[in-house]
Symmetry: C2
Subunit: 333 residues, 2 copies
């Protein structure tokens, strides 16, 4: 290696600083996802088992993974989820991938974090329909679980607090770094095609980034669905209003993450937009008063598809056997 | 190492031959499971993806893995499976683990092999409710699948024959060797406790092995459910009769494998036996005219639990994204 003289050092510093500036500019709205840091692998593993365990439902056939399918985009890809006794839920299942980055959980933000969120669907009548007391009894009766709780918490008394704590710990690991857009954010000019790059320029300059920003490209605020035109929907969901009771927050929903949006169809809280083209077109008109041309739509969608990251590689969990005294599932109760 | 003289060689040969004889005797009824031989890893991987893909169902939420859950015992652990629109199926889901060793598939043996079997539940109205033509259209519309079919079969035309061929190839790998009972069969005297060993002696000497034999401890014949006493059931299933139309074969069912039977509760074609104790008690009385004592039941069950093998470790499959033209799921059709 050649030694640098002081002029060389100056040039090198100038290039580095220009590159830092370029980086900062690229990352103005959206920042690269960071890989998950796993602090307690045993707790993550237990949470994973519980996430996949259909015994947390009254029927014995619905697990967290049924609607937040990790083989798909952390969603079920149906308009609104189908739960206990084939009831249709009121809203489209949000992806569990990168959900740890959101300001709150659920479309209306009624849970402050993943731990609080995890308790909801277990007992919701249209989802897993499992009273918490029964969920605890089931898990407490499975020796292979009790052992793990004991190792992790120092005692073998199972409760909802521990169940949801481990599920949240697992969900915290469900980030999807490594998308082509992140490579570009990190300085790789060749990571995007010209069309994708242009698509991002339109996305940024026409104002999408006002709401879809941060490392998750969303999830940082609540916004009204239908700003310049009302959004017409048969969904009963009223958004933030259901939580705060404030009229001004009617139809305000948490801005969804656009990470892996290619995989999380159909779109919106009611799942009524089947394709990305349709979703972007509606967003442009209703939220920004902007009618994108077909060319623009194509480019924005091309950009959005560069947000598909690496879904975490994981072993299929092997669940411990029920004991003879484990309460049995009751699909028709 | 010491050199053996001729007397030493004779002794060594005698021990070896005694041990071969003991081995042969131990393996008279039940033989150890052999690990799966994977000839075409790409085909196995594609079959695994399809096995886990809920897009093979009309609703978009039921996959092969829903009822043959590989995180559990290759079953759903409910009396009879819940399918499309929450319909209850007529029979208990048999385990997919070691199913490649059975003489035929389904409780009534109506499919000759796993490939023929795989086609059934996809289109059955109470299971996945997906016409084969639509299943093919869906898979053909997913670029990530088409690519794989092309690599494996040399052309990219998807059909049910290829879909079921890959699923069967995957299912062929779902064997569970390494149980404690297999270790004992292979000569490890310490693999079983005295009670478990006694349980096996009762199991063998009282005649259970007449039907529950071979490496899968079952699956080798069809037998009448209720030989010495009729089996009373509200299940509509008539067994082999439904296939052959022969009166003599009414209520003849394929003898289920007892491998991993600890994990495949509830038991019998109608799922009416909740525990192993109950199932063994009924089998003894109805099939063998034998009333086992509580002590005998306990020992037989202890033996049965030594048949739990190693479920295959596998990565959770990551499924390719639908295209914009992929027919969308219709949970309420």
């Amino acid at each position: 290696m050649k030694r640098l003289n002081s002029a060389g050092i100056l040039i090198a510093l100038t290039i580095a600083s220009a590159s830092v500036n370029a980086m900062t500019e690229r990352q103005q709205w959206i920042q690269p996802l960071q890989p998950a840091e796993i602090k307690n692998p045993e707790k993550v593993e237990l949470g994973k088992q519980l996430f996949f365990d259909p015994r947390l439902s009254m029927s014995g056939i619905i697990s967290c993974n049924t609607c937040h399918n990790l083989s798909l985009g952390g969603v079920d890809n149906v308009k609104t989820s189908i739960g206990h006794k084939w009831q249709a839920g009121p809203v489209n299942a949000p992806t569990v991938f990168n959900s740890s980055l959101a300001i709150a959980q659920f479309w209306d933000g009624r849970a402050e974090d993943l731990k609080a969120q995890a308790a909801g669907p277990i007992e919701a009548a249209v989802e897993m329909a499992m009273p918490h007391t029964l969920a605890v009894d089931v898990i407490q009766s499975i020796p292979g679980y009790v052992e793990q709780f004991k190792r992790i918490y120092g005692n073998d008394k199972v409760d909802m607090d521990k169940i949801t704590d481990t599920i949240a710990e697992f969900e915290n690991t469900l980030v999807t770094p490594g998308s082509r857009f992140d490579l570009w954010l990190q300085g790789d000019d060749n990571a995007l095609t010209a069309d994708e790059r242009e698509g991002y320029d339109i996305f940024a300059s026409s104002g999408c980034v006002a709401c879809h920003n941060g490392p998750a490209v969303g999830g940082t605020s609540f916004q009204k669905m239908g700003v310049l035109e009302p959004y017409v929907s048969s969904s009963p969901a009223e958004g933030r209003f259901a939580v705060t009771g404030k009229d001004a927050e009617r139809f305000m929903f948490k801005v969804p993450t656009l990470r892996n949006v290619e995989l999380t169809y159909p779109y919106f809280h009611d799942g009524e937009a089947a394709t990305l083209e349709e979703a972007v077109d509606i967003m442009g008109r209703l939220q920004l008063g902007r009618q994108y041309s077909e060319d623009e739509l194509g480019k924005i969608v091309a950009f959005l598809k560069t947000l598909t990251g690496e879904r975490p590689a994981m072993a299929l969990p092997l669940l411990p056997a029920s004991g003879d005294k484990t309460p049995r599932p009751e699909p028709f109760r």
